[in-house]
Amino acid sequence: MTEYGRKIWLLYLKDLRTELSTQDNLLSTFVFGIMLVVIFSFAFQLADVPVDRALAAVLWISVFFTSTLSLQRSFAIEQKNDALSALLLAVGDRGAVFLAKMLSNLTSLLLLELILVPLAWVLINVQSAGPTQFGLLIGVLFLGSWGLAAVGTLINGMTVQLANARLLFPILLFPLLIPILIGGVLCVSAALNYSTGSVKGWLYLLLCFDLIYTVVPFVLFDLILEG
């Protein structure tokens, strides 16, 4: 078990390393995310929609769209030169590859949110927030990103080996994200409206989603990375 964990950890570090060493990719992803948040906020303002109400939606839509850029790189670097085969032989387990990829994708999503959330915060001019609201915000962002990373890793593992990967990826990904969208938007809204009473259930639902979409792909990944 510790051996298994060690391999996942090594793979995770390697993924972060490759992600950081190709800074232009990372940078363009972040810039795209920032642009989306600004454009959405502006558009809502133009349409005279109260932006503070729309913030949760803006945030999640931006994260979803931006994630299609970052998540797709995850297996693309393995696919090039067939590094994946060497990796699988060294790791010896496809599920471990899934878990490591999921963790590194989760990390890059959280990094992205670290930039987008304060930006959105400033743009809509949130007046004040107590520690509970902050806690809720961090909690829901973490759970939502986890689910997004898990589903995204699964779909990326499949599409990367197919011809029209770039088109397929978002089409396959987005319908599966609807529960995260519902839970995520409602919880972020609740965090901004300063009412934390009814959201506990949503956090459990998100957690449930995350666990299902971590365990099922973990099991099915043997079939995805074959051949």
Partner: protein, 222 residues
């Protein structure tokens, strides 16, 4: 034997479909508050039922394909998904027709409607995934997607319902009691549609098999 059964199936349907229309338009009484527009309800519900059934078939066939790797399950899943898409599209078309006069809106984010539209997207994604060629990889991925998408359906439904139960519901679902003849008509429609589904499934399964055989012959000829 099978050929005979198929022909029988066809003639039964030829009889059942007009008979069913008769039931809907003449046997079942006109609903008092909604009027004649309520007639679409029978077709609407039957289409939704087929959409669900087709999705279950995709799920089951996908699991079987992953366990056994047989062509039959894979083709069956694809055929079922295609038919399911058609019926779900009918649901999405007939729904607003009914909703507009009754709820005074074309669309509402009712849990059933939300789930239906998400299912429709997943069906389309599944078909697009398979349409890029019938390589072994694609079949396997499609099967995985079929399973993952099926698991997603209850998650979507419950989150949408939960959201509705927390927020004030703007439009309350119209409840109406089904009278005896209405119930009979509904059940007959469900049965007829199930038979139509089976017929389409066999037909589409065969055409997929034939298409693959043609492809193989082409490949062998080169």
């Amino acid at each position: 034997m099978l050929e005979k059964l198929k022909r029988l199936h066809f003639w039964v349907l030829c009889f059942l479909m007009p008979a069913n229309l008769y039931l809907i338009f003449f046997y079942a009484p006109v609903e008092r508050t909604m009027g004649v527009v309520q007639k679409v309800f029978y077709v609407h519900v039957a289409c939704a039922w087929i959409g669900m059934l087709a999705f279950v078939v995709v799920f089951a066939a996908s699991i079987r394909y992953l366990l056994k790797g047989d062509e039959v399950s894979s083709r069956l899943a694809l055929a079922s998904a295609e038919i399911g898409t058609v019926f779900i599209s009918c649901v999405l078309l007939t729904g607003p027709l009914w909703a507009k006069p009754v709820w005074n809106t074309w669309w509402t984010w009712d849990p059933r409607l939300t789930t239906t539209v998400v299912m429709w997207f997943m069906y389309l994604a599944y078909i697009i995934l398979q349409s890029g060629g019938r390589s072994e990889n694609r079949r396997r991925y499609a099967a995985v997607y079929g399973i993952v998408a099926f698991i997603n359906v209850p998650l979507v439904f419950f989150s949408a319902r939960w959201w509705r139960s927390i927020h004030p519901v703007v439009i309350t679902a119209v409840e109406f009691g089904l009278s005896g003849p209405m119930k009979t008509t509904l059940f007959c429609t469900l049965a007829t549609f199930s038979l139509i589904y089976c017929y389409f499934l066999v037909l589409r399964y065969r055409s997929l098999t034939l298409a693959e055989q043609i492809n193989q012959l082409k490949g062998a000829g080169q």
